[in-house]
Symmetry: C2
């Protein structure tokens, strides 16, 4: 049997457009002799659909499109399609997250998803009822163990904080499944590729059947999908694999058991590719932007953002603007121009001093007698934000914001100022990784696309004389490791101090700053997710709250005193 | 038996502070002769805790605080306390949403929540494992049917899109429960009070036992809680009820069966009270703001916002700023000053023309040859936003944004301009209701606090000469009804046209505008929720998407043609 594994790139909500493309791919696969084509999870509506599925019109449209494809399907191919199915029971959620098995002239058959991720970015229990059971579907003498995404992720080793009672794969195998077919919408995060390989090889070792995964690819707002679709033999060997971040169709003949070498993955290259994909797809799927606009500060964040944008949409569609103030170093302007020159993009200079002076004059009667400080620094940052948004509005450009994850964590950024923008490219990349990205970009180009001085100078917001990030923040290598343990590993004061050996007060203060700046992140533009825990949809923190770690220790002490008394 | 029903107002995350207050209230209740005190759902950590519960440190702290209260409890009172309990099973979510029954010197007993709301604002399946069964707890000869919030909301009549298979109340009654005790964190939305009464009376009619509800009160960021705690007799009669939006302790003696008259509720008064509560609590729980700052335009939205702020925190803590531009009418300045005079707040004038001119000069080389339009209008709105934020930063004031739900829906607002602010007071109030709020405020004051001319003049953003909202938008009564059906009732083109008799193209265009403006709402400040479906946490829509309703109709037609062929 020849199986087409379709690494498909849907546009969220574009049910009609997705359906037409799905049918076209099925027709092409049929022309190439495939007996079966496997499409990803929920590919008709695109992941993540979010609350589109609360709307009955959308559900009806998905049903219509599924029927439309079914009716137009060539006679010599069957397809497995990620779609939704209405729950016929009067109880429970209205929908199943479902795989439709469609053959021309025969009734549709469905397999529903059993394990519904409801953590991080995922809200599946919000929409879907879990399947009570799953049964293989017989096709041309082969029992297909069809299942959806999370259904394969039920081992403690891979999801330590989320262990399901049911094991859909074992149930399918017990019912005679001869091949496991996984429809996924599994997003990228760095390191996930290797985790998938390890998991699939464990599954093959346990069940001794081939494993096939068709994953969504591309990006939808903050979620980036590398794809990573593949086929493994019953012994776990990798037989074929799709290129990352590209829509592709893999063809696998079930007789073919020749292993291929697995491509190696580099963490920084993966992040680079994911960010480029994220920018490109945001641009393409929005379909309304002329160019991409970046405020160039001469620093490393805006330089890396610009280089990524050029890679994503081409130099002819990227535009830099430099906006020196009285505190800008000579280097910040010349580095911006060097960068623009290297990247082949225009760099316009907008002199913001006049506007800043106007604001200060306007506010002088109210501010009379106060000391210059944060308010004045923010006026500078917001004047830049306003100027960039004016250019964005005038010419239909997308403003890319350039703040990194370390800054977003610490609130070391100005709301409506440098945080302004439609897409926050580096929001999930720690500053220490921004340096590695810069080095990667220069190595890849074989020359210093990003000026060495942008990389080597001490980071500064340049909002007051001789300002340095390090005046307000710990050194980034120290800070980033604390932030990583807090945000990505869900650690807290004591566990972080245990691991890193810092003083409790030092760590406690950093975590409090992170907590306090939730109000800024609430109003940030969407950020491209490349780690397993990004700010945004996947991390939902209260905004008005009080997490007083000293008061909690006091309570604990009182308890111990009592307990020991 | 004397029962204290505690309508408690927790601060989210302030576990130590909440615990100390809980113990104090329990001690006071004991001193007043109560045998039992009932506290709301999850009151130790506050609703909604969001992902705080992903952090083991937080869970441990809740456990410590629960033990601390237990150890310090007076000997003559038992308490029922909303807390969390770790799931001892290696499978499933790590926690239960639990009610702890605590008596001095006896082991704690727990009843876990069975029905976990995972829709709208609620993400409970993200954190909690549902209870497999519930059993009454015997106390002083009485079998208490303790259950938590959603456990009572399992009738199709009240939750048409979410019907549970289990009915915890029936299970408790079958096991002999003689009184139903509900611990809630059930937020306000207009009309919900009457719905609760109807539901509880239905429950009493079915089970013939008294019903007692202890609900959280106050507000946490966007969620406002009216409280509405009460006791109903076995025949459904209301026996006692807490005042809305206030922390209170109700005392009920189980022998007392005298009904009281239920207070009447007016929709607009309820919304007024909820918004005042929302502002007051945001201010109090943040604890960092000196004053509340409002940009006064002379229009009705900023006038209503200012009046609400004065009611919430007092005139001495509210400050208005008017920022006329060349397009501002004479009336907009004089109306702002009249309003400020009526409310007893200062109104500073900031002349923004100079700053706007500076921006235009700065951008002139880039904008040369282009036509004045949206970009220039946004410069005005953002200049105002920048000036307001500068004052906010300088003096530690909270900027309240004033946009209403109709504008937020249609994107009729400038990101980083009039959308700037820490709290969006009217974001869940349609324009037609803003008018009713203005009338209510004036009636309540017995005089025109809000100038009649602000109410009567045609709405305008005043960003270009003779601009009127109605040039770009349908009349608000028409628009709001369409928006309400789309957003709150989950309707779509056809169902809305069926109900209102509009042309399909007209409605389709409006819904597309709503969809397209998700990117603005993504970056909006938190808005106070007063309807059953607000923008924000409870409505999660894709940002980059394509919902082409014409293409979908085309698909449907092709299908019908085929089907009929």
């Amino acid at each position: 049997m020849k199986i087409a594994v379709v690494q498909f790139n849907p546009i969220v909500g574009d049910i009609a457009g997705n359906a037409r493309r799905i049918l076209k791919i099925a027709q092409e696969a049929s022309a190439k002799g495939a007996d079966l084509a496997v499409f990803p999870e929920l590919c008709m509506v695109g992941y993540s659909h979010h609350d589109l599925l609360d709307n009955d019109y959308v559900v009806t449209s998905i049903e219509v499109a599924t029927t439309w494809i079914h009716e137009h399907l060539p006679h010599d191919i069957a397809i497995i399609l990620g779609t939704v199915r209405r729950n016929p029971s009067p109880h429970g959620k209205r929908l199943f997250n479902s795989a439709a098995f469609l053959e021309s002239g025969k009734p549709a058959r469905f397999v529903d998803k059993m394990l519904l991720p409801t953590y991080d970015l995922y809200d599946e229990y919000r929409y879907f009822e879990p399947a009570k059971s799953q049964t293989p579907i017989k096709f041309k003498g082969l029992k297909l163990g069809i299942h959806i995404c999370e259904d394969m992720w039920n081992l403690e080793k891979y999801a330590s904080y989320l262990v399901y009672e049911r094991n859909p794969l074992s149930e399918l195998i017990e019912k005679g499944a001869q091949v496991l077919i996984n429809l996924s919408a599994s997003p990228f995060s760095h390191g996930r590729h290797d985790l998938r390989t390890e998991l699939i090889q464990d599954i093959c070792a346990q069940h001794r059947v081939p494993f096939l995964m068709a994953n969504q690819v591309g990006a939808n707002t903050e979620m980036v999908f590398d794809g990573d679709s593949r086929v493994h033999a019953a012994n776990g060997d990798l037989l074929c694999q799709a290129p990352s971040f590209e829509e592709t169709v893999l063809y696998w003949n079930t007789f073919d058991q020749r292993p291929i070498a697995a491509p190696t993955h580099d963490r920084i290259q993966d992040i680079f590719d994911a960010l480029v994909c994220g920018i490109r797809e945001y641009d393409r799927k929005s379909g309304i932007f002329n160019k991409h606009l970046i405020g160039l500060s001469g620093g490393i964040d805006s330089a890396v953002t610009a280089a990524l944008a050029v890679e994503a949409v081409g130099a002819h569609r990227v535009m830099g603007i430099t906006m020196p103030s009285e505190y800008s170093s000579e280097g910040s302007v010349s580095d911006s121009h060097s960068l623009a020159h290297n990247l082949g993009i225009p760099c316009h200079t907008l002199p913001i001093r006049g506007a800043i002076t106007s604001f200060k004059d306007m506010l002088a009667p109210l501010f009379d007698g106060t000391k210059e400080g944060l308010a004045e620094e923010n006026i500078q940052a917001r004047t830049r934000g306003l100027a960039l948004m004016a250019v964005s509005n005038k010419f239909g450009h997308l403003l890319l914001s350039t703040g990194n994850k370390s800054e977003m964590a610490m609130g070391y950024a100005t709301l409506y100022g440098d945080m302004a923008g439609g897409l926050a490219v580096l929001a999930d990349v720690f500053k220490t990784d921004v340096y590695l990205l810069a080095e990667f970009i220069n190595q890849r180009a074989g020359r210093a696309l990003i000026p060495v001085s942008s990389i080597e100078k001490p980071p500064s917001a340049e909002l007051r004389p001789d300002q340095r990030d390090q005046d307000s923040l710990p050194p980034y290598p120290v800070l980033d490791e604390i932030l990583r343990l807090y945000i990505e590993e869900r650690g807290d004061v004591f566990s972080i101090c245990d691991q890193l050996g810092h003083e409790e007060d030092f760590v406690r203060d950093i975590l409090s700053v992170v907590d306090r700046n939730e109000f800024k992140r609430k109003q940030a533009g969407p950020g491209l997710r490349v780690s397993k825990k990004a700010f945004g949809t996947g991390r939902r923190m209260p905004l008005v709250m009080k997490m007083d770690r000293f008061a909690l220790e006091q309570l604990k002490q009182e308890l111990n005193v009592e307990a020991n008394a």
